[in-house]
């Protein structure tokens, strides 16, 4: 599965970098060449993602075994000879995907492609914009395919700077504030994560592939095996103070990205101020990194802590769902409403994860994908109306269904998918999440269902205010949605419909891996239960 001697995953990750270099070499006046290059690159990335989708063996679990990983690339990257007091330093360039990461890889490729279409008419410094967008793309893809913690962290941080610029230069009126807030919040989480990574590094040893002596490692899969933890090291044992602390540090790092209440306050600012395409990427992909990180790293490396704190996660999920929905209901700004709806919907992912059973986790991973597509549509829809009317005030509109019928049609799909109408993808994943969580955290789940009602309420209310009722004279001349905007929205709408009717397309990919993850975490939890109190 190599092309020109380079593996598929390297291609899919570093294609945008190639595109970035190409764009840098183009003259900045030639906007067409720049946008078509970016589009071609993201399209190739999408093709590579489709290749992975079709060639992915649905029977292999992955998670903690390298045999179960697919499209694996493993090359020695940094190899520093040992001195007696400083073990050998051995870092690998280690990529691979399993059922957890493939949906995210697909999502990233899809959203990046859509984002380029949505960025077609950026006015200011177009070349710089595309360069940053492509760099961001590499960072996102890298996070989802790397299996070495060092590499993972590098990709994780590489995203920050382009995102800062994308919000800060091309954003709305309060862009500076939103950009620095995003930057600082995320970095705060990252440094805590870094400390947890170092603590893990010094706790886990594996035999050197050549000499057999014990060496420290950043290999994520090795960190998941309790047998690799050195006795007496900081994170050895189960359910120790340090293990809980390290889990919490990791959790905060990921929670800020999700974002979990009370770390969510950067989100409304960043989402509202960012240009449409960047809001789409933020909501579509970046938020998923938090939950992906928890599933890929937090759960299997700290099953004891994950089990121990599953109730806390459920409580936080409840707050996210209900508080996010209530906040959304109170908004007058269309984009801010969608931003808060993301907080609420990511709460559903967290609730599914806290369930610790197959239904819940499957729902959570599926919801990650669905939220990515649905919220991307919602932000695109806001972008369409804002481009025309230059306002996002919900009360300023009315009766748009008459002036913009096609737009209203596609918007209806997105809205109903977001509120969980059966037949659309959002319903399946939310149902799974709640179903799973009900078995584990009964009362919290019952309370959380309030969120579904609230979501229906604010979605329908918005629909009514903006699209129904008496047409506002002021907007009588608004042109309907154009071909380019449809090109961004329609593929997402089709996916939403398809997965609503036939979810197995996506579920088949992740079932084996999710089952394995649930078993794995349960066993880790079982080991805790057997310990003498």
């Amino acid at each position: 599965m190599n092309f020109l001697g380079i593996g598929t995953l390297s291609w899919i990750t570093f294609l945008p970098i190639l595109g970035m270099i190409a764009v840098l070499l183009l003259p900045k006046e030639n906007r067409n060449a720049i946008r078509w290059t970016a589009l071609a690159i993201t399209f190739l990335q999408l093709v590579a993602a489709a290749f992975i989708f079709f060639n992915f063996n649905r029977g292999l679990a992955g998670i903690n075994t390298v045999e179960g990983m697919q499209f694996v690339e493993k090359v020695s990257w940094i190899n520093i000879k040992g001195v007696p007091w400083f073990g050998k330093i051995y870092v690998e360039y280690f990529l691979g995907v399993d059922g957890l990461s493939v949906p995210m890889v697909l999502l990233t490729a899809l959203i990046s492609f859509v984002a380029v279409i949505a960025s077609w008419n950026i006015e200011k410094a177009f070349k710089g914009y595309m360069v940053m967008l492509l760099l961001l793309d590499t960072g996102m893809m890298g996070v989802f395919v790397s299996l070495d913690f060092f590499l993972f962290y590098v990709f994780w941080e590489v995203m920050l700077l382009p995102m800062y610029f994308l919000i800060g230069i091309w954003g709305g009126p309060r862009r500076e504030y939103a950009a620095i807030k995003f930057f600082l919040y995320t970095l705060l989480g990252s440094v805590l994560m870094l400390l947890a990574i170092i603590a893990l590094y010094f706790s886990v040893t594996i035999p050197d592939p050549t000499t057999g002596e014990k060496i420290y490692t950043f290999n994520m899969l090795a960190m998941m095996n309790p047998a690799n933890f050195e006795p007496g090291s900081l994170l050895a044992g189960t359910s120790t103070y340090w293990r809980y602390l390290a889990y919490i540090a990791l959790f905060i790092g990921f929670a800020i990205k999700v974002p979990v209440f009370p770390f969510h306050t950067w989100l409304p600012d960043a989402h509202v101020e960012a240009p449409t395409a960047i809001s789409v990427i933020l909501a579509g992909v970046l938020l998923k990194m938090g939950t992906y990180g928890l599933l890929r790293i937090g759960y299997p490396m700290f099953p004891d802590a994950a089990n121990h704190y599953s109730w806390a996660l459920a409580v936080l999920a409840f707050i996210n769902i209900v508080y996010g929905a209530l906040c959304a209901m109170a908004q007058k700004d269309f984009k801010k409403l969608i931003a808060y709806s993301s907080v609420s919907h990511m709460g559903v992912v967290l609730l599914g994860m806290s369930a610790m059973n197959t239904q819940g986790m499957l729902g959570a991973v599926f919801q990650m994908f669905n939220h990515g597509t649905i919220t991307a549509m919602l932000f695109l829809i806001v972008g369409v109306i804002y481009d025309r009317a230059h306002t996002r005030d919900l009360d300023a509109f009315g009766g748009l269904a008459i002036t913009m019928p096609k737009y209203t049609g596609i918007m209806t799909v997105a809205f109903f998918a977001a509120l969980g109408l059966p037949g659309l993808s959002g319903f399946i994943s939310e149902a799974f999440s709640f179903l799973g969580a009900f078995q584990t955290h009964r009362y919290i789940t019952i309370a959380s269902t309030l969120g579904i009602v609230l979501t229906a309420a604010y979605m329908l209310w918005t629909l009514q205010r903006v699209f129904l009722g008496q047409p506002n004279e002021k907007w009588a001349g608004l042109p309907d949605i154009n071909g380019r905007e449809l090109a961004a929205l329609v593929p997402l709408a089709i996916i939403t419909l398809w997965l609503g009717v036939y979810p197995s397309t996506m579920l088949d990919i992740m079932t084996t891996s999710v089952n394995h993850l649930v078993e794995f975490v349960k066993q880790g939890g079982a080991a805790v239960a057997m310990l003498p109190k």
Binding site: Y164, L187, L195
Partner: protein, 499 residues
């Protein structure tokens, strides 16, 4: 005796070269009065040669001049660091308006830079407290004059005067501390102090006072809080080239001495074999590392918090360099070779990123005539290349991957967590979040704000760009492929007389 001296001289080649260069520079200045531009070339060649000689000392480990000075990997590393910094500073000076506008005094400038480098070379190898004081004084006296080099500017003279006053005070305190220590142990040689401390127990209060006073001297050199007050004013007032030199080389030499003094004086040689992994025990139960831990927290926290409010880039970088001294002190606190190696890695990284940041400040100041943060508004659109370079240097200073600064922080935090100094690592990590804020303030002005006044593109010559690349490429490359710097650091923690 003669043989011994001759042998010592052969091991003293880098320093001898610098001494001769210094003399030649002054004499040549007198003879070639009409061709002042020749002198820097002579000084540059001398420093380059001395650095090459220092490289050739790699791997040797011995005491010379009856144990006043040692040549060991640790000293060689710092000579290399100081020498390379001096070489780069000379390259900067070619394009510094402040330096080039005073052609007549170019002789003083370049010869004093050589003298300062000599002082730092001696600081790197000194093992006798008297030698240490002399080396510090040689460095300081040269830097006092250089800080006031642009004497037409009032803040330059102010800088120089402040520098002298604080310098004199802290040297005085340090000498007082040394005399108390001499009274307690009867020795000025750090190895003899160690033997004395190991043999007899001394009054712990007196020892504490002596050490605190000595820390005042070292703290002044590395600009650790609360001995940092001179730093912002001197950094702001001195020519940028000198500021850059002080911020890297002077700090490095100060650290070399601090580490050597504390490690050798208080290391428990009997326990050294018992502790595996380069960990060492302490004599007399005197936990000097806890003092340094507090100093480190104060230094980085104050440095970072005050930097947030600075509007002058030189002052901002001054406070940032104070904060970086705090980070590096963390590596000394852990009392093992991993920590020391982390400090050395950090210094190598710091050399490139900090000099790079100062270089950009200098280039911009040449063109727009100001170091004010407001003059950076819209710079990203007027001069994209150096603005992007500045972003890389700042991101590296803040410690984000994929830059070398991240590797520096990674190894420091790793050393701390490995030795279970978790709280200190957390403080350091939080500090780096704060630091990002003020670095990004400059980035914001460069890219997020529109230019005020002139929007003309600013162009720089090709050699200017080449010097920038010389600093930019390692900053990025060592972030992804850090084996060379880590291997060099690992090989350089060895000190004479310790295993």
């Amino acid at each position: 005796m003669v043989e011994q001296t001759l042998h010592s001289l052969s091991q003293f080649l880098p320093e001898t070269t610098l001494t001769i260069t210094f003399c030649i520079s002054i004499l040549a200045g007198l003879i070639l009065r009409n061709k002042p531009k020749v002198i820097p070339v002579i000084s540059f060649a001398g420093i380059l040669l001395a650095t090459v000689f220092a490289v050739r000392q790699m791997g040797s480990s011995q005491a010379v001049f009856s144990g006043m000075i040692v040549v060991d990997p640790f000293a060689v590393f710092f000579k290399l660091l100081v020498g390379s910094t001096a070489v780069i500073i000379f390259l900067f000076s070619i394009y510094s308006q402040e330096v080039q506008s005073t052609l007549k005094r170019l002789v003083e400038y370049s010869s004093l830079l050589v003298a300062m480098t000599l002082g730092m070379f001696l600081m790197a190898g000194a093992v006798n407290l008297l030698m240490m004081v002399l080396a510090i004084e040689l460095t300081s006296l040269s830097s006092y004059i250089l800080a006031g080099y642009t004497k037409e500017a009032p803040d330059s003279s102010e800088a120089s005067l402040k520098y002298i006053i604080y310098g004199a005070l802290s040297t005085g305190l340090m000498l007082y501390g040394i005399s108390i220590l001499f009274g307690l142990t009867g020795a000025t040689d750090v190895y003899a102090i160690n033997r004395s401390l190991a043999a007899t127990s001394v009054n712990s209060v007196a020892l504490l006072i002596a050490v605190l006073l000595i820390i005042a001297g070292f703290g002044y050199k590395i600009s650790a809080v609360p001995f940092h007050f001179w730093t912002p004013d001197v950094y702001e007032g001195a020519p940028i080239t000198i500021t850059a030199f002080l911020s890297v080389a002077s700090k490095a030499a100060g650290f070399a001495m601090l580490i050597r003094f504390f490690k050798i004086s208080f290391i428990d040689f009997n326990l050294l074999a018992a502790h595996a992994g380069g960990v060492w025990g302490l004599l007399q139960g005197f936990e000097w590392n806890k003092i340094l831990a507090i100093l480190s927290v104060l230094t980085m926290t104050l440095g970072n918090l005050v930097a947030v409010w600075q509007n002058n880039l030189k002052r901002l970088l001054a406070y940032s360099s104070i904060a970086h001294a705090g980070y590096m002190l963390m590596g000394v606190v852990v009392l093992n070779d991993k920590g020391l190696a982390a400090v050395l890695v950090y210094f190598m990284v710091y050399l490139f990123m900090n000099l790079g940041a100062f270089y950009v400040v200098m280039l911009v100041a040449n063109k727009v005539g100001s170091e004010d943060i407001d003059s950076y508004k819209g710079l990203g659109y007027r001069s994209p290349f150096i603005s992007v370079a500045m972003v890389v240097f700042f991101i590296s200073l803040a410690g984000l991957p994929p830059t070398a600064g991240f590797i520096g922080k990674l190894f420091l935090f790793a050393a701390l967590l490995d030795a279970r100094w978790v709280w200190l690592a957390v403080v350091g990590a939080l500090n780096s979040v704060v630091s990002l804020y003020y670095y990004v303030r400059v980035v914001r002005n460069m890219f997020l704000r529109d230019p005020e006044g002139s929007t003309e593109p600013i162009r720089f010559s090709f050699p200017q760009m080449a010097i920038l690349l010389l600093l930019l490429v390692p900053t990025l490359l060592f972030g992804l492929f850090y084996s060379p710097i880590v291997e060099l650091a690992n090989a350089s923690v060895l000190m004479f007389g310790v295993r």
